[in-house]
Symmetry: C2
Subunit: 514 residues, 2 copies
């Protein structure tokens, strides 16, 4: 007996804000300040305009722009129609953007000229798909987003919103060689909101600076949680030290989601104190960061998750494990288990695939029925990530499953072997790969970089591992190198290691999937 | 596409606790300490035992006992089977308990001998309905609850839990002359949990003393929120100053839900400091209560709600209105509106029926199809309560709709007229009733008690009202009295006022419904 009387949606939240806190400021963006009452009026107009433009259940709207309050308007308005919104990763090349346009086939594209106009226009020209309408974000008058909103009818129309339908599409890791759009429901967003509101101690008085890219689930969820609790989202179009400093000072932002590196950059930029940044406070549960005195630490938002489950599900906030992984404990909105390849649950201490069940799990990837059948099996979402439940119940994230090495019937995870090698006092850095082996499928090979003036033999390192991890995991071959190639993200560049040191023969194909 | 991969339930939470925090203490009750791993094992046994006893979807289990960890076990176990648990109001008479037994027709009754054995046994004997099994709570061996649990099979059985089915039945106000069992789903409980966890800043380190009666939704929801976040529930079977003092000292409870009057009683009882009660702290967001230094104030849990919507939905925590009502603002899990008798939304400042939509709304009353059709109409739950949205968006609760006076086509709410009269400096107390009027259905009559040495005429008081509220609301008659009769709850005893001062002719019957 679940029916209309039990329904709840982003639109319902907005309409309640209109009544409970009409004068609260919902968003500040490019000089436009909207109260919740004004936002609610605009969303009614936008939903009607989208409907009149032919957008209905299952249709897509592509937001080809940077951070903007319009993303919130589009998400709620499209959600009223059962349609989806995708915030584009605008850091991509024209070719990558064209792929998304052809894959998503959006009915409406809202696009931004400033800063990102060149690749976006090139993609619009080269894509095979043609949207029914393209709306310019940084323009006025006919053909602009603003004009489109304001020409929508102000009269609310009777609609029944199904919050379990896909509402948000975020493109994520390239399994099978192409990015995939994870479809998330309003229900998923709302459950995750409630978790984040608690962890971040958000209230309707929180003025949150949104400077992280909203095409990332981490930034997106924080932004939605602020909306959900009736706080103020202050948008800057992208991370830029001066834009950020100006926004904090002008709008008295009291929260932000800024990593420690960028926080330091901001502090350096403002060394002469010409901007007043004191309104941004730290989280009270992380006193060790108070010295920074300006920024919410990233640590309170640290844990394990992925776009496909609407962000983090295990958080250090819920218990910091004493073991290797330090990815925290499962929060109150999901179940997490560790499965072997046959789908059986593994006990504490054993490494396997992290699987998830709960209301925040995606509704599948857009237009990927075969991949969806792989990822959702027997009521569990397979993350394609490897993890381990530690003795204290905390979760260790080991690494992507695609990096697994197969030796005989055993699975070996490079991260585990690397951690063991790094515990040797002579080792500065290392990377572990699989090399083809006629008898055992693959053998484990380690590329090791020693500390200056340190010496150790390959045999000594192999013995070091034999004493600490299962014998089949120990490297069979060790090669010394001056450095380990790394990706811009800081992770080991395994593809280059494979190429340079003879890696190959991985399960599922001769090369590893990243 | 909502399916098993998105499912979430109380059982899912418990199984996640088993993995994430197996050693955390879930409950302390009558000397029995259960970790989450032990609780999970017991719930598996209990669910299997219930299933083997014939309990299935839609069946009822009656908990005819006081506060006890078994209520949690039964709720989760029954939920796995699609069955419901009702915690009985054990303060009722044998006759009232027999009504519940015959109305609910439970398949299993767990009953308590100590303290409440006499009325419960009399009810079991006089009720027409016979449960398939009655299990004794404070006994051991065959026929006892404990024996029933431990004889259940320990092997988990494959089941798909539907968290939207009714899981909890709590009997509530007597509309139409008899109490009705509001059926609440696991989904409703879980949403409300997340709100309470945030408001009360609960964590897995919270050790909450459950001394309020668990047949009340207020106590029940706090207890479920502690379970949800993995904290410890410490049960005392009922409020008793000594039991409470002992439990706080022995189990280092750091939270409790104790009203200020009982807190004062506790402080007086412990004036000589023989119990160490310092572990129970106040809520940090209510510094004005810190002087008490022992108890969470009730104020953080104050607002508007009812059993039928799983407790409070508007909370002072979300914004304390500056207006008359002070019932706070709507929290993040519901929509609240004010409707007129035709089901149209009323604007700010006008009084009408409070209606609710959202995931915490009940699944209806048990076995009351006609009443359910009245309460759930056009996708809104009608609370039967009168309220008003104030200019700042906060909610005023005026009173039960049943207290409404009808004069001509207008509705008059006694609370509103009383507030106006009380604002006169000479008035100490008052009560407003309707008296039959041949022309206007009813007329408004006020019974007024003046302050010592104060004098004012009836005409002056009527003029005072005419200047402040709509003319049709002003009293037509005023009678002076030495005191206003009050109920044990502190509310005006309108039935006695009606009897003594000629009240009657109320809409829907000649007497008012309470």
């Amino acid at each position: 007996m679940s029916n209309l009387v039990h329904s709840f949606s982003l639109d319902a939240i907005l309409e309640e804000h209109r009544r409970s806190r009409p004068e609260n400021v919902a968003s500040i963006c490019e000089g436009q300040i909207l109260t919740y009452a004004q936002l609610a009026d605009r969303v009614i107009r936008l939903a009607n305009a989208l409907e009149d433009a032919g957008v209905g259940k299952g249709d897509r709207v592509l937001w080809a722009g940077q951070n903007h309050s319009g993303i919130l308007e589009c998400l709620i308005a499209a959600g009223k129609l059962g349609a989806m919104v995708c915030p584009l990763n605008w850091r991509q090349t024209a070719e990558e953007i064209a792929f998304v346009i052809d894959d998503l086939q959006p009915k409406i594209i809202i696009w931004q000229e400033r800063e990102i106009g060149d690749p976006v226009k090139a993609a619009l020209a080269s894509a095979k798909h043609r949207a029914a309408q393209t709306l310019a974000l940084d323009a006025q008058g006919a053909g602009s987003y603003e004009h489109f909103v304001t020409t929508g009818a102000q009269q609310e129309r009777e609609r029944v919103v199904d919050a379990n339908l896909p509402a948000l599409v975020i493109y994520t890791a390239a399994f099978e060689g192409r990015p995939n759009g994870a479809m998330l429901s309003q229900t998923a967003i709302m459950w995750q909101d409630l978790e984040i509101i608690d962890i971040q101690q958000m209230s309707c008085e929180t003025r949150f600076l949104q400077c992280g890219p909203l095409f990332h689930i981490g930034s997106f969820q924080v932004f939605m949680a602020i909306f959900h609790i009736g706080g103020t989202n202050v948008f800057v179009r992208r991370w830029d030290t001066q834009l950020v400093a100006e926004a904090i000072q002008e709008h008295r932002c009291n929260r932000a989601f800024i990593f420690i590196q960028t926080a330091q950059e901001l502090a350096k930029f403002n060394a002469d104190g010409r901007y007043d940044l004191k309104s941004v406070c730290t989280a009270s549960f992380c006193p060790e960061w108070d010295a920074m005195a300006t920024i919410i630490p990233e640590r309170s938002m640290f844990g394990y998750g992925q776009t496909e489950v609407t962000g983090l599900l295990a958080w250090t906030y819920y218990g910091l494990g004493k073991a290797l992984g330090r990815f925290g404990k499962t929060g109150p909105i999901a179940q997490i288990r560790i499965f072997d390849d046959q789908g059986n649950e593994l006990p504490q201490g054993e490494t396997g695939e992290i699987v998830v069940r709960g209301p925040t799990v995606m509704q599948g990837y857009w237009n990927r029925p075969e991949l969806n059948a792989q990822r959702h099996r027997n009521g569990w979402h397979r993350t394609n990530d490897l993890g381990r439940r530690e003795a204290d119940g905390s979760l260790s994230f080991i690494g992507p499953k695609a990096l697994m090495i197969k030796t005989g019937v055993e699975n070996v995870y490079p991260a585990e072997v690397e951690a063991c090698l790094r515990s040797h006092p002579a080792v500065a850095d290392c990377g572990v790969i699989g090399v083809p082996d006629e008898k055992w499928v693959q053998s484990v090979k380690a590329i090791v970089c020693l500390k200056p003036d340190q010496q150790v033999s390959a045999d000594d390192l192999i013995n070091h591992c034999r004493e600490r991890i299962a014998s089949y995991k120990k490297p069979r071959f060790i090669e010394f190198a001056d450095s380990i190639p790394r990706l811009p993200s800081g992770g080991v560049d395994y593809a280059l290691l494979d190429k340079n040191y003879g890696g190959g023969g991985y399960p599922g194909g001769s090369t590893r999937q990243h």
